[in-house]
Amino acid sequence: MSIAAETSHPSFPHRHLLGIEGLSRGELVSLLDLSEEASKLSRQIAKKRDDLRGRTLINLFFEASTRTQSSFELAGKRLGADVMNMSVGTSSVQKGETLIDTAVTLNAMRPDILVVRHYAAGAVELLAQKVDCSVINAGDGSHEHPTQALLDALTIRRHKGRIEGLIVAICGDILHSRVARSNILCLNALGARVRVVAPSTLLAAGIERLGVEVYTSMWEGLADADIVMMLRLQRERMTSSLVPSQREYFHFFGLDYDKLARAKPDALVMHPGPMNRGVEIDSNVADDARSVIREQVEMGVAVRMAVLQALARQLPNR
């Protein structure tokens, strides 16, 4: 099937967006096309549409997030939905059963779409089993973060005009990263050559079975890369003896101009944010002309609008 044919018949026949896994190339492309349209809307003065007029969207975040939550909020509002934000701090949660209790409680308020972030892998899927509305995974533990992968793919496609055949190096804390997993699945489905670059302590077991080339050296992993995608390194990785120190990590895995020089001259630098400047990325590189980090944020809103539109088509009573 040609890309054009897929584009002219955008389709996303799913009730939920729980992950990239299980989505076809055609479905991913149609979401990217829809996102492209949404990005144009966001740059207009009149940004409002009414796709979700009368609909209720609840942002349910069990883990703190500024950009993802505000991105979904804005996306929902631009589509005319009533948006409610609920932050459930991890400390205030009696873990586990409360998740299902919360789901049942929220379900009784009859929302149309739930956007959920949770610190445990599989929690969003568990919640989706207990509610009647559409559910979007805004990140579950180390499992998936599908809208991040979509916005990354969209950003890449806008700059490179394609994804197929590009060499994408995903660098850093692969072990704990849901962004890495969703990106591996998404970029592989779209035909990129995906590499992961990390110290062995931050690689997940069997990661090569997901169809990636594995590197433990940035100098090798970045060679001829079209895209350099950095991941955030959380400070607790130092205390749990996964890496010895910030300065050692930066020396070997932080993206600086020396290492970036190994990539193609027109390589894009990406980061899902929030950045640790001086830990995984040199501050100047982050602000370099090749960096598309701010555009990723912009595309985040567009992708979330597209996902909401696609799911809205599947909502009942339309």
Binding site: G96, E97, G122, S142, R181, A204, G206
Partner: protein
Amino acid sequence: MTRTHPLNQDRHGSSAIALVNARLIDPATGLDRKGGALIIDGVIADLGPSITARTAGDAEIIDCAGRVLAPGLIDAMVFAGEPGHEHRETLATASRAAAAGGVTTIVCMPNTEPVIDDVALVDFILRRARDTALVNVHPMAAMTKGLKGEEMTEIGLLHEAGAIAFGNGKTSLANAKVMRNVLAYAKDFGALIVHHLEDAPLASDGVMNEGEVATRLGLRGSPTAAETIVLERDIRLVELTGGRYHAGQISCRDSLDIVRAAKARGLPVTCGVSINHLTLNENDIGPYRTFFKMKPPLRSEDDRRAMVEGLASGDIDVIVSAHDPRGAEGKRRPFAEAADGAVGLETLLGAALRLYHNGEVELGRLLQALTVNPARLLKLGGGRLAKGAPADLVLIDLDRPWVVEPEALRSKSKNTPFDAARLQGRALLTFVAGRLVYNYAE
């Protein structure tokens, strides 16, 4: 030397029963022939082709219609929940589940609340079992006080009081010196040490087997090395002390190799495997199904096959249900936060017979691992189909198809990984000391 149950000696049925027209299987001797068994005063008074409806005299006659009459199953690993977790399971409900599964003897684990680390608690279990349980119940006692891994319990007194063996619950004893002392001291009493194999820091936040499946699910994995490291160390300590050692559950090929090597060196080492690790693997977890979360975790298909091979070759001595009742409050959670464990008493036999029907393990070998082997390990009198043996018996229909319905399970908790599984073969009648404790037809 064998031990009889300290409190159960007077619980046998009083009248004589003749089980006729059966296929008699005694896994200990390889006996497999047609005949009958005469039960008088709770023991097998006579056995063989001469026991028929005509020769039975006054005895109550039960026609077995050619089905298998075997020793009742002995399950060396049951987490009963009493005392402390009676909402999950009591000795009474566990024993009903056992009876329905053809299990006539259960060994209950010491990680209760309070921990079974005191003579009074051993006595409590024995008395509760006598008063409420349908099957033989033997408590395993803790080998360290409070299962903390620091101070040895009163192994001698606990042994005298009826503790069948000594374990450390679902944790490994980290301190090698304490482990050495426990093995050495227990040896003086001929007491068996049953150990859980999991190096806690290495397993750390692992919630399933480490590997591709865990990585795809975004779950932390526990490597098989967390099991083998403890097993290797323990075997060095057995070499040092000569203590009797049983690895409660092994789950991977490497552990099997280690046990084989230890046995080849003549060490007093045995091992068990759970029915789950013989019949399921990590892929069964699918979309975060918490009923498949257990310790040790379900491993790869290659590891599962190794467990079957080890059973078939006799290197794995014992099959356990690892029956571990967990309520919805423990299981209806995100996978990483969910409780470990699966119920298994009622499905043990049916699931084990899968291996027989698949042609993976011979029936005799399978029944050995479920009867005479645990009996010998625990120095129990049962596990035999022989004159003079206790009339702890099960009549098995090897082919009867049935579907596991969680709501129909007798266990208080319904956390079975065999939910809706189609099993072939089950217990029809179960006798404990000559008393009928389960009848499928009712």
